[in-house]
Symmetry: C2
Subunit: 417 residues, 2 copies
């Protein structure tokens, strides 16, 4: 056995990394359809991280050789990330994940000003919504813009919500639950026009949580017109506990964490070199492969949606089918608990969720599904399938084979009770 592994190692370069993952994950005979919750680490990313565990473990703040080596690893990663975003390296702040990045953007921008009006939407991630709630307690006034029945932000309502006192707008790029893609470029134009019409120099700032975007969407910050943008490695086949905040040059934020002054004073704490190097690699790979992968997964997605709606009566798609991430299928089944479906599918070897992973413990329909204003009978029955690099059509065919019976069975139980 060991000999076989060694033989494989010798040919390491010839073995496609996807094969290694398939070998490792597929061995469990499970079908993982929850890539928006978290992803496995891409072996190519793992390889980039490898030297920084033992050989190159230095502290980037040290002035001797090991420190300079670590510092260079960070600079290289920063350059990589900046180049993907069409940004400058000094506009990239490495930070310990998406939630912290959202928090730094929102608390950082708002608290720097101290008071004012802030706008977000009803379908944001809790990292945004709960930060807004906290700011309201601190004296800020907040507006939560509706989405239409397709899960797209109501731009008319958004325009009407803007005030001269508005200091920050936070609208996500792509929704983590229903996969709808928001018109960020259009939103940034509205903000620019508003600024100009009111002769406001810099405010309101526009932040976007782009955590779900890198594998499928364009991340050019100039085209998007955003001031702050959040990314997270653990949703793009990178390591957990690392992400970044793009901070447009000139924008001042109040830090959340104080200490050694790393990351231009915006995120103190010894830099997590292996994670930073891995994140940059994961982001570069995501953007390199996004067009092919989008095309491939769109086909699987549309086939899945078509078949699921055809095979299971009283089922609806949550969110627009067009303005939607290629990897997201979120459907609601009438008169059945999404939670139960997830557990039955789990028993059949399929991993999916009712919404975001953060909601899993709650039995309430998610705030995103509620924002679509579905009737209660549908709202409780939402299930999210999110495909990824290892997903094949045959995986979907398996789900389509087992799911109708599960729903039928659960509806039977529900009818009896």
């Amino acid at each position: 056995m060991q000999d076989k592994i060694c033989a494989k190692k010798r040919k390491k370069i010839c073995v496609p990394p996807l094969f290694i993952v398939k070998l490792k994950i597929m061995n469990t005979r499970r079908i993982y359809l929850d890539h928006s919750s978290t992803t496995y680490l891409d072996p190519r990313v793992k390889a980039v991280m490898e030297p920084y565990w033992i050989e190159k473990f230095g502290n980037a703040s040290s002035i001797y050789e090991e420190g300079r080596e670590a510092k260079k690893a960070i600079s290289d990663a920063r350059l990589k990330v900046a180049s993907v975003l069409n940004a400058r390296p000094d506009e990239i702040v490495f930070i310990a994940g998406g939630t912290e990045s959202d928090n730094l953007a929102i608390f950082g921008a708002a608290r720097k000003i101290g008071k004012g009006h802030i706008i977000t939407t009803k379908i944001e991630h809790h990292a945004v919504l709960h930060a807004f709630e906290k700011l309201v307690k601190e004296g800020f006034e907040a507006d939560y813009v509706d989405v239409d029945k397709d899960g797209i932000v109501d731009l008319k309502q958004f325009k009407a919500a803007l005030k001269p006192e508005t200091v920050l707008v936070s609208i996500m790029y792509a929704n983590n639950e229903i996969g709808t893609v928001q018109p960020i470029t259009e939103i940034s134009k509205i903000i620019r026009n508003f600024r100009n019409s009111k002769h406001l120099a810099a405010f309101p700032l526009l932040h976007t949580d782009a955590v779900q975007a890198p594998s499928y969407l364009d991340l050019n910050v100039d085209k998007l017109g955003v001031d702050l943008l959040t990314l997270n490695a653990s949703k793009i086949y990178g390591p957990k506990g690392i992400g970044c905040l793009y901070v447009k040059r000139g924008i001042k934020l109040e830090p959340l964490i104080y200490g050694g002054g790393q990351e231009s004073g915006l995120r103190s704490g010894t830099e997590n070199i292996p994670a930073i190097a891995g994140f940059a690699e994961a982001l570069e790979l995501a953007q390199k492969e996004r067009e092919n992968e989008s095309e491939r997964l769109k086909k699987i997605r549309d086939y899945f949606i078509e078949q699921i709606l055809k095979k299971i009566p009283d089922t609806v798609l949550n969110g627009s089918q067009e303005n939607r991430l290629p990897n997201n299928v979120n459907v609601s089944f009438l008169n059945v608990e999404g939670e139960s479906i997830v557990l039955y599918l789990d028993a059949k070897g399929v991993s999916c969720s009712t919404g975001s992973a953060c909601n899993s413990a709650s039995l309430e329909p998610s705030h995103v599904i509620r924002a679509l204003k579905r009737s209660h009978e549908y709202a409780n029955g939402s299930v999210r399938f999110t495909t990824g690099k290892i997903t094949k059509k045959s995986d979907i065919d398996y789900v389509l084979k087992v799911l109708p019976d599960i729903v039928k069975k659960l509806r039977g139980i529900s009818a009896l009770s």
Copy 2:
């Protein structure tokens, strides 16, 4: 070559992990004497982290198999950490590093109350001192207690500083620059007596930054009598970007980061499973090996101190020799810049620092050395050597061979200028 590696892999269990590290690090022919800044990842810790990259990559908030697996990994790690600290698992909050942990303790405790008086010392890490400065801006009153010439907190001054309005005391367990060990048990007794005498139920709380402690000191929170205790994996041969805060049951903190409500709402964000598992393993190993390692390094330390003071005139030890971490040697050379010595030693293949890594960019003597009230001629010439698992006596002998000439040379330059 590959065959040789494979042959080695086959005997993996028989190869002591230290050997792997020595092979990897020693190949660089460098002598690393900056373990208090950061440590390499122990191969045994790396092995514990390994399954969580690809095979077991689930999100701990998910309810299906991969999620439950991830959740179990966190519970196991929490139990491991709690058992080292003699604490309950629900008292351990995993967090992205030592700085964030210090910040959560200090901001979290103080902001939960909203106002009051806080006490720390003049030799704390910047993660503590800068958090205090921020709290002062928010309206808190702060006292910074002196240390004596040996770098030990002045207990008389500390006692006198306590007031009925004092909500928090933060005093580090072992100093990162001069290695002095503070009498935490005594300090907690003073606080308990003060609470009793004033009929105060819970305040002031006692926080200790124990980041430098686990490899050498007892971490029993009951014996220490602390309410909050900070640990960091990256100083104990664990991964970077992870640590914990011990929060005694019943103590309420205000979170720094808001979102999905992970870690009992105290640290939102998808849990970093490989890092959490690695941290717990690193902590357990540190405590298991601390007695032998302390004894071994104490001998090296005392030899180093004795020889350095003997071989280089006008040199003083910074901080007490007795109440000192076994791995810390911090000396000041009269009339020479510590920075220059570090760079010259770097050129000779030795890695050390002038103080904490966070200060490296500054040419000012560190606040810790200043707190010892050394004359200016000595304060600028401080150099810190911190040994670790890979340090042998022969490494020290090499330093003792090259250092006297370096100091002589630099003093010559300094005399000329």
